[in-house]
Every structure is written in C-alpha cells, then in structure tokens.
Amino acid sequence: MAIAKAERLMNLALCLLGTRRPLSKRELRGSIEAYLEAGSDDAFNRMFERDKDDLRELGLIIETVENLDGDTGYLARRDSNRLPPITLDAEEAAALGLAAKVWQQARLAGAASGALQKLRAAGMPEAEDAYEVHSALEPRIPVHEAAFEPLMLACRDRRPVTFDYRKANAARPEQRQVEPWTLECWRGHWYLAGWDRDRGAERVFRLSRITGRVRSRAGAFTVEVPDVVTVRETVESWAGETATRTARIRLRAGAGYPLRSRAISVRELGDGWDELEIPYGHGLDAWLVEFGPDVVVQEPADLRADVVDRLRAVAKD
C-alpha cells in the first residue's frame, strides 16, 4: 500500500524543521521513505513540489538556499516558524472555542480547529464545553456557494478572476472579469466586492448568482484596493432598505404586522381599516402585493400603478 499523504507531509515537515543546515532534494529523498518509493525522478519532483506547497498552506516558512556547490537546499528555520508567545486565560480560550465552531465550510472549519490546536499545543488552557459555560447562543456561518472557496483564495492572494454571473433578472449569465477585494456574509448570504474590469467600476456580486467555475487569471491587480469596501450599503439599496420617499396605504385591521412595525405612523380609520405611512424604497410594490386584498395603496400614484400591474398579472392567469 502506498504511504499515506499525511505521513509523507509530516516527515517532510519534521526533516525541514529538524535540520540546522539546508537539505538538498537528494538528502530529503534519502530520508523519507515515501519519496524513495516514488519511482521516477519526475514523479518524485512533482510530489515534492506539491508537498512543499501544502506545508506552506499550513503556515510553514520554507526557505530555499543555494549551497556553495550550486545545489538548492531547503530548511524551515525554527525562529521564523515559532509562534510568538501568547497567553490566553480560560475565559478567552472558551470564547475562541465558541468562535472556532461557527464555520460550516470545510476548509475554514479545518483551519479554525487547526489554529485552536496550535494554540492548545502552545499552552492555551482547556475550557469546559464552551456552550455549557458560556452563552446559550450557537452562531453558524453558512457557506453553500461553490464559488466561495476559490474566491476566498483569490481575495487572500490578490489574484484576478473570471466567472459567469447571472444578474437577478437576466436570462443569460455573462462573463465578468473581476479583481476580488473582499467577501462579506450578510443575512446568511455571501457577497463579493471587487473591481469589475469591463465596466471599469466597483461592483458587488452575490455568490449564489455565479454560475460555473471561478477561474484565476494571471497577472496582478490593476486598481488599488480601497481601505474601506462597503458591501452592506450596496446590498441594502438592492433590498430597498434605503427609502427615499414615503407611501400612504390602507391596511386591514390586524393584518400586516411587518408593515406596522416599519410604519412611520398608524391611524385607525374605524371601519376595519387602518391608514399607515411607510418608507418607500425599491421593492416596496412586490412586498405590498404579498398582502393581497389586505392592502390598498393610496399614494403615490406610481406605486399604486405598480401594485395594480402586479395584481393584474396574477389575476389574469
């Protein structure tokens, strides 16, 4: 049976951390059984390159040094790989324990537990179960979008990407070329903010509308990443939460609690109806239609017309 990858990676890590002088590829191959079994030089070289990348993902700083005789050597210096001293008390440890459990995405969940394990190995005290001792809250960060991981890595490494994106009301997806800046999760959905190269402007994308694969592009960003990226404000305006006007509606008594809780004023009309003044932003027409015959729009006229149009579309079927 082939030697398991974890065993091979562990051996490479120990060799590189254990040495005081750079080790050549030949020396490493002679010390690690899995590399001896690798067969051809090509197979070994490919395996070795991949393994080094994997260890770097784990945080190891591996230096490449030219020997006097022109040979390339590798080592992971102790002092550059050591965790700086960190002292956490039991409360802080419990709080981090709670935080580490929120990821529902495999890569980040693995990375968060890995971080805790490193801290634990460095002496972080053990708390009793975080849920029992602390808040009753169980926060979860959902990640269902396939585009998440490649975009997370692209944001991290500042690599341009292309992907197919279908706007909310578009029949066909369209290819976008983006310099990805940040990912933000709001109300359980993930959004990407970045520079849209074709449009020459900052744009926010909803990850669930990305179809197909996210591909990395060669080259660097062409536009400087701003210090502050505002994803929420953009999404809020899509959701119609930036109201610019007010509307006056009649609402059947007892109905439409969410409209009431957002109302600026509520007046009882006495005939089984109330009159409400509510903020009027994008999307209000669709929301009002949900309440069917329990809502009648008074003004403005354009809102009234939009609601009537929508009702007609449903009524005619």
């Binding site: 790989n81 440890a93 634990r120 079927d317």
Partner: protein, 318 residues
Amino acid sequence: MATNAIDQTRRMLSLVTYLRERPGAHVQDVARAFGISEDELISDLDVLPMCGTSFRGGDLLDIDTDGDRIWWHNPDDVAEPLRLAADEATALLVAARAVATLPGLRESDRQALLRATAKLETAAGEVGAASSRLSVTFESEGGVFADVDRAISERRRLWLRYYSPARDELTEREVDPIRLFAVGHTYMEAWCRSSEDRRTFRLDRVAEIRLLDEPAAPPELELRDLSEGLVQPAAEDPEVVVEVGPGGRWVAEYYPHDSAQELSDGGLRIILRTPDPASLRRLALRLGGEGRIVSPPELARSARQAARAALAAYDEPA
C-alpha cells in the same frame, strides 16, 4: 478515513508539541483538548511512529499508546509551537469578530472575545492581515435575544406574540426555549406548549416577549443537526411546482427546493415541498408576472382570487 491529509498533518504537528509537555497523557483528555474523537487520535498515533527526521537512522518518533495513555520515549525539541498559517488566522479572527458583533452576546463573553482577538492579531503578525478580506455580520434582535438567552440559562418558560408570514397573523403562545442559533438571522428552537411540538422561531418575527415564572420543561429531545440546513422538508410533504422567468430566479435562492430545472427562456422550473402549500400564496402574489404556480391548482386559484379581490378595491378591472 474521512480526515483530509492537510488537516491531519496540521493536527499531528500540534500533537507532537502537546505530547512533549505531557508524558503519559490520557487518550481521552488529549482527544478532548484537540476536539477530535479518540479513534481519530489513535489513527494519528499510528502514523506518528513512522515519522521523524530520517527513517533509516532510527530518528523516528518513538510514540506509543496502550489505548489509555500515551508515551513519547525520545522527546526532542523539534516540537516547538508553530506560527499560524494565513487561513488559520483568518478562520479564527473572522469568526471571533463576527461572534463579538452579536448584540445578544453576554458582555463578559464579548470582553473575553475582544481580548482574545487582540492577542491573536498580535501573535498572527502579518498573516493576520488577510483576515480583513472576509467578514461576517450576524443579525440579531437585541432585546428579544437577551430575554431568550436569560430564559435558557434560568430555565424559564416564555410567552410570545409571534408573527407567522404564512398566515399573516400574530399568535400568542407559551414556549420552553431549548437553544439559540444564528444562521443569517437569529433563531430560537423551542418546545411549543400550544402545538405540543418542536418549533423554530425567527427572533425578528417576535412582536412581544415576556419571561414567565413557570420553569421550562421541554421534553428530552435530540438536537437537530443544523448543518443540513434550517428547513428540512419531510418526504411526505406535498409538492409544489413553480415556474419562473428570469426575473423570478431568486426563488431558487430563497426557498430550499428538491430541484430547479433550467427553462429555455432563462427561467427555472422549481420543485419544492412544504407541509402547508397554502403558505406559498404570498410567493405567488409576489411573483406577479415573473412566475406562476403550476401545481397544486388550489394554490394557483387562491392567489388568483386574492389578486382579483385586491384589484376590486382599486376600482380596477382584473
């Protein structure tokens, strides 16, 4: 074994450091400290004796276990605590910052979290910087949250006035809270005394809340596994078929569904299940010209009737 090689390597490196300081450590304790099962730990301990600085020179880690305690017979100083990787720092820092924003979090927990975050940022150094490229905001209704949190810790019953969007009505009920969780919105799972059943309540739909003096007495329940998603329709729930045009594709984003088939006009044919199809009348109305309910026919009919009744109030012909 499901564990991936990267996670296992990461864990074994920390394990070696941890074991050096604790000769004769108990399997049970170490597994708990690392947040893994004893089987996972044993499989790590099977691999470690094959690892070292040279497989020939006898420089392998001499670590063994009798299934109860763990001994490392030739400990050396290769096992120093390792710096955090960029992904590790990001995963923990982003999660910690997100949890710290929860308005309902106890103040002492928030303070602990903020202190820990600051220390972690320092320890992570420059790799921590990439964590600013990811952020998460939880939403939570402060006042309601605090009452639910208190009811859970004091094991007390709650009285609620709760809004049901499916019926567009407020109902009053008494519930025994079980737990709070946040997935996008913040939710309470509780035993509802009125329906004698387990119910999930979204906190931003709680119109009014009061702590009662009665103790909460929820029956012993297996906690639901939330990783499969919040809404888990049952196989026997009736099927609803919705066809939407391009402008109604959002339905597939908001409603958990069994299938969504692409249509030639850029729309979707979505099949979903719900215990109560009548609750989808709102959706049918909201879709307007952007989609229609294909089945059940009663649902399509009730949306049509509601739209006609609404139009009558505008003195508009249907």
